[in-house]
Symmetry: C2
Subunit: 221 residues, 2 copies
């Protein structure tokens, strides 16, 4: 009982900070997304592949990279000339709103920024519980992970707004059934907007970036 | 400060129960392993592939499946005629010693049981912190996940005794460098015993089962 109360208190505190983050970013004219997935589903590769599209359409782009250890991912993004900050969480298996709040002044200080991409720690469980204050949650599922993942980790599919079925180039070499995975995800969350993507072939990257750019333009004038 | 103290108390309580689990299993002549990985790295497939080898060499085998939701994995194992129990954790992102303690009477009641395989929830972070009372921790890293994972999730590689580099059949289609992944893992934990495995081709399954059987025979007379 104590544990449940502690958890409720923790999540409620997190939600409060998330609301402040959201208000601060929106106030500055920044649309923000929270990218979640298993480790190695391809979040950073998708960001790298999307940068050329988003630079054209959205322009002002900033990235926050969340990792247990290392700044490998932020180094990858930095090479594309995009402002990036690394949050290393140490032992924490997810980003939380408090961590993001420390980066808000940095984001808001970037000239012409309109889109903030937050790459969460690779984990299909706990990131579902912690609102960061982002406008959109994007879940990435790699085609080597098995099409049973929506059934086994329903919360994260339920909390997401978009689903990128990534690494579609691997479908011929795995037993992954894309349609089955999509059906299972949509049964959990019929509102999911789904894209099929591959960072090797480039499939779907343009389509998802076009949708994202549209959302940014609609929300951030 | 309160959070740290709470966590230390929680982990110390867990370690106490883990020690009791270990003693109970060893007392009954059962060697146990804790399998950890990202979601979809192939833990269940490795168990399925290993059953024919282990049935011959180890004989009495039992499996505990840990998942957030569904009994899909235990259904897969059950088809091979092995006693299996499913733990669905709900929102918890890892198994803990207390959950396992509830299954000890079931394990100890199985005639001739000598090896217990515990498949943890798919998560490269928190399972590293929670001793279950198993004799051995086996980490599985799929070749579609990226060879940077040992750098980014060092704790779990540090806590593991064995590393299975799985899905080696996918190497030609991913940028995964097996030697680099192994080097990185060994820098974190030089004692790791490494096997390269594929559940599609069967590579390495016999070798890892032979090693596991040897350990069971040495420890459980």
């Amino acid at each position: 009982m104590h544990e449940i109360l502690m958890e409720e208190k923790l999540l409620s505190k997190n939600d409060g900070i998330a609301a402040l983050n959201r208000a601060a970013l929106r106030g500055r004219g920044v649309f923000s997304i929270n990218m979640v997935s298993s480790p190695g589903a391809g979040k950073t590769s998708i960001i790298e592949r999307s940068i050329p599209f988003l630079k054209d359409s959205v322009r002002g782009l900033a990235v926050i990279e969340g990792d247990i250890e290392t700044d490998l991912d932020s180094m990858r993004v930095k090479r594309h000339g995009v402002p990036v900050r690394q949050i290393t969480t140490g032992r924490a298996c997810h980003l939380d709103a408090h961590m993001i709040s420390h980066e808000i002044p940095w984001v808001c200080g970037i000239e012409g920024v309109r889109l903030l991409i937050i790459e969460n720690v690779g984990n299909l469980v706990c990131p579902a519980e912690f609102d960061l204050g982002a406008d959109l949650t994007v879940c990435v599922l790699g085609c080597a992970e098995g099409d049973d993942k929506p059934l086994k980790y329903p919360a994260i599919f339920n909390k997401s707004d978009m689903l990128l079925i990534n690494k579609t180039d691997l479908v011929p070499y795995t037993g992954f059934n894309v349609e089955r995975a999509v059906d299972r995800a949509l049964k959990i969350n019929p509102c999911l907007k789904v894209f099929k993507t591959s960072c090797s072939t480039g499939e779907g990257i343009g389509a998802w970036c076009a949708c994202l750019s549209g959302l940014v333009s609609n929300v951030v004038k």
